[in-house]
Amino acid sequence: MTKIFDTDRGRSLVAIQDVSLDVIEGEFLCLLGASGCGKSTMLSLFAGFLQPSSGHVMLRGQPITRIEPRCGMVFQSYALFPWKTVRGNVEFGPKMQGVGRSVRRATAQRFIDMVKLTGFENHYPAELSGGMQQRVTLARILAANPEVLLMDEPFAALDAMTRQIMQGELLRIHDASGKTTVFITHSIDEALILSDRIVVMSARPGRIKTILPNPLPSPRHVSVQLSPEYAALKAQVWQMVESDLLAHDETFRPNH
């Protein structure tokens, strides 16, 4: 598929060109690439927020033509409801599904505890730090329990320690639920620790450069980072990303 944006001055921008990708049921897939290479655009296409300019996105053989609740999105910019408390935000998905009050409250509590926000249930998003808000979005999507998890740099705002804990939790959830997960990151380490396959993307226009299976044994633990195997893999991925970075006058920047 291809996605072309019409920009303000009547020009068009090719965000993604001729991308073809099969996401396998139950796998953990990482989209890795520099800022601006179309990772977020790709995820928005998966969620049905955008429609491709050509080609199509299929979920279990059916084309996605509108916003798809079966593909739950963790937004890069949180998108929390400011007028709802942490609990209200996390309960939103179950509430929309018609789950009764006491059940959804229990569900919400479980995920709030899981993202280590116990005690902040009645806080409003504006009262939380960026990292805490990011964890609320994670809890919110997990409570909604979609078939596919789409995550746009969900750990970008977290400090290194919290990030490691959250990565562990996410792997645990993935192993337990077998949910297909598409995860955006610009961290090679994160991609190597989390994913079954890594999709390396290149910019201008956004394309898939390679798809690397991740041979590291799973279930994984952060300690794999110490193995020589890991170092070799990291060097290999880095080489691929580096050539792209040098070819384009783009620096690694979080966000966008």
Binding site: E68, F75, S77, A79, F81, P82, A126
Partner: protein, 272 residues
């Protein structure tokens, strides 16, 4: 031994803040006292003739008289009632209409031309027509308040409804929300702060509407009080009326802010 480069200590900064706030309060009081003193002196020493500016003592005396016979409180109550009725009526019409216009473009297209035509008209221009239609009773005063208020409430409501973050609409849909749920859970609470701001701004406008209407044709109300006092040459009473208007609008504004705090708990202590 190395020295501390950065020191965080609570008490001095806090104390300074506390002292500063008291200095500001003292300045408030001092400014009012100075102007009052100037007023008193200018009448006491004949710098200004009493027919242009009455002495503070005369104003206090007039206030005591009209308070004692109950006229003042009656006039305040009469004006407040007219404002309340006209304002609530305007809100009841304009808020739902504005929300519909905000989410459904055809409705906006239908109403917009009339808004453009009516908006430039000050409420005072409605006085001839409303008197013709409704006489000079209560209904006419309420109508003037209504005509002067509803468009502002409408404009604020349309704007705040349209400004609801589209990302939140996406997020809600992604979490499985239906159209109805989007309306109730996202658009209404998202637009509410802007709507309430609009109501606050409009309430002051509603007050000026009622005063104009009362000055032109009314037997009661604060506007009538001022106008009649002028006709009798009772300048101290004019000033009493003006002060009362200021105080009443301040109280109304304060009530609005209480309501706002109650309705928007998430805006109370925003950190960013």
């Amino acid at each position: 031994m190395s020295e501390a480069v950065l020191v965080a200590a609570v008490s001095p900064a806090k104390a300074r803040n506390w002292r500063f706030r008291h200095v500001l309060l003292a300045l408030n009081v001092a400014a009012v006292a100075a102007v009052s003193l100037l007023w008193w002196a200018s009448t006491r020493f004949g710098w200004v003739a009493p027919i242009f500016l009455p002495a503070p003592g005369d104003v206090l005396h007039a206030a005591r008289l009209t308070l004692a016979n109950g006229d003042l409180l009656t006039d305040i109550a009469v004006s407040a009632r007219r404002v309340f009725l006209g304002f609530v009526l305007a809100a009841v019409v304009a808020v739902p209409l504005g929300i519909v216009m905000g989410v459904w473009r055809p409705a906006k297209a239908i109403v917009d031309p009339f808004v453009s035509l009516l908006r430039p008209l000050p409420s005072i221009t409605w006085i001839p027509l409303t008197i013709l239609w409704l006489g000079i009773g209560e209904a006419q005063k309420v109508a003037i308040v209504f005509m002067g208020s509803w468009i502002y409430i409408l404009l604020y409501t349309v704007e705040s409804t349209r400004r609801v973050d589209p990302l939140l609409l996406r997020a809600a849909r992604n979490l499985g929300a239906t159209d109805f749920a989007i309306m109730r859970e996202v658009i209404l609470p998202g637009a509410l702060p802007g709507i309430i701001t609009g109501l606050k701004v409009t309430l002051a406008i509603s007050w000026s509407c009622v005063l104009t209407a009362e000055m032109i044709a009314a037997q009661s109300g604060l506007g009538a009080l001022i106008w009649q006092a002028k006709d009798w040459g009772n300048l101290p009473l004019v000033l009493v009326g003006m002060l009362c208007i200021s105080l009443t609008v301040l109280v109304a504004d304060w009530l609005m802010r209480l309501i706002e705090r109650a309705l928007l708990p998430w805006e109370r202590n925003r950190s960013n």
